[in-house]
């Protein structure tokens, strides 16, 4: 993640608008339309978040308390919360439209706020973007839950696409809860 990248106002505006539209589609349960925003090669990852042993050798450094050390997916031999490709996301979308997906019947009411949108790099028509979200979630008969986290996205402009025509190539969702006391992490974050 480079700290010195400066996106143009125009690009910043385009990407922010794109995120607002994505949030509106998800909160409006327009999952088919959301799925169309995913690139065929999408990788959608939610790393686990553990509590590793403090490494004394790192004392006094930022690395000692870095978020990265807590992520249980990075080295490939640990267990993420989710690690999915397009077929899995399609299955989730398909399920949402069936009356017998009981944990979504009645469906949850959600509201996503996406902010702190920071474009950290571009390569041609591919953009690395970090953002933060708060997702308010509730279902009839259930408590309400606040999911908070960070998205680390790679977005690409569709071949020959106009402004705003972006696809998610990679999304990594860093969830901020310490213990998982939520009904599900099977949402579209």
């Amino acid at each position: 993640m480079s700290d010195d990248f400066r996106a143009s106002l125009e690009l910043q505006h385009e990407i922010e608008q794109w995120y607002y539209r994505e949030a509106r589609l998800l909160d409006g349960r327009e999952y088919q339309k959301w799925l169309a925003l995913c690139a065929p090669e999408i990788r959608y990852v939610v790393p686990g978040r553990g509590n590793p042993l403090v490494d004394n050798a790192l004392r006094g450094t930022e690395e000692m308390i870095s978020v990265e050390r807590e992520l249980e997916e990075r080295d490939g031999d640990r267990l993420p919360i989710r690690d999915e490709t397009l077929p899995y996301l399609m299955l989730r979308v398909e399920r949402a439209f069936k009356p017998n997906s009981w944990s979504e019947n009645p469906p949850a009411r959600t509201r996503r706020l996406v902010g702190n949108v920071e474009i950290t790099g571009t390569e041609g028509e591919t953009f690395s973007v970090v953002s933060a979200f708060h997702l308010h979630w509730t279902r009839p008969g259930s408590a309400t839950f606040l999911y908070a986290g960070q998205r680390r996205d790679v977005l690409a402009r569709a071949e020959g696409g106009s402004a705003g025509d972006l696809r998610i190539v990679r999304r990594e969702v860093i969830l901020d809860m310490a213990d998982i006391e939520y009904p599900t992490l099977g949402l579209f974050f």
């Binding site: 686990g48 403090v54 993420p80 299955l91 997906s101 213990d179």
Partner: protein
Amino acid sequence: MGASPPRVADVVNADATLIGRKAWSDPGLYELEKKGIFGKSWLFLAHETQIPNPGDFVQAYMCETPIIVARGRDGGIHANVNSCVHRGLPVCRADHGNAKSFVCPYHSWSYSVEGKLQSIPQERHVEGRTDKSKLSLKAVPRVETWHGMIFGSFDPEIEPLEQYLGDQRWYLDAFFERFENGIEFVGSPQRWVLNANWKLPMENQLGDVNHGPFLHAAVIPPEANAEVFDHGYSCVAQPGHGATFRLMPEDAPLESVAWGFEGMASLLSPEIHEYLRELQMKAEERVGPIRARMKGLTYGVYPNLSFLWSNTAFKVSHPRGPGKVEYWSWSVVPSDAPEEYKRILRGNHTAFFGPGGLLEQEDSEAWTQQYLGSAIDFADDRPYFYGLGVGEEKPHPDLPGLVSVTANEFYARNFYLRWRDALMAVEEG
């Protein structure tokens, strides 16, 4: 505080066809469970592949008691209660790692990874000497392993682990023995908390494959269910354990029998197809002709360990009171599988099970709602009906224990009869 618990004999009837709602919601019965079940059983802790080197450790639980499972300097496995003998703080806060010692944050007493008290910094300011040998962390009195699976028991008198598992080993071996180089656990377990009673997730894996076509109809294709109806068995080697699987016909095509293809064939590269075909070709030699045709579904090991064959996960249902459970789920892969396939197996676990799982979303909803139903007032005269298929289980020439179609709820009746005996033993003091 509160009313005394109902009598166990009034909660579970003599053949466990009727089970009162209080079994899942009464705090007094929960205290009996702690003593009669969690104090008296072998409880799963971890797998040896998680702690290969001296100093490696992982956290575990035995019921609500936090445990550190560590590989000692001596190469042995040590399980100790994670609580300082000075004032009780946990001496280890990380989920896993490699440590030279565990140092308590409060007054810095330090313990070896084997659990021995090594130093008391305050000691040099007082005249008396403390006998540290009597101040180790509380060790789990019995620790044994089988196929690398580490179990602990608080009961020093408990029968050996292999005897406790009994013929359930035959069913578990159908998986373990299939892999020449064994299996490994992938990293740390997923762990999450549900407002449900610990027994329902357990019962679900013990043999309840019949909720699949209904609760999971949105995801599980009908062909998969047809196979369960046509070739499915539910087996109880010993009350409290259970195994469900399909015994595929002898002339079934290899890919429909072989472990690892199920529901994923189209996602797998030719190289992985080859690996799985080879595994299956060796299966008969490794596990025998019957078990080579076994396609597992779910298994349960009394009281709270389960194995989900189809998505290669071991799970433990840790009670947190009558209405709360901390459910743990480990992904398991054959040690010698191609890296790419290990990743696919891992994904096949997390996409369907665990906190983000497509299927488990429905299960956890059901378990949460079952607890609510068990805790309502004015319905105690409507115990739950566990009477499907009473007496229809029979011995089988090729399969140990009693065997039946999967719709027979005898696996659950057997579990609750063991539960009943265990709690009544405490009741009688």
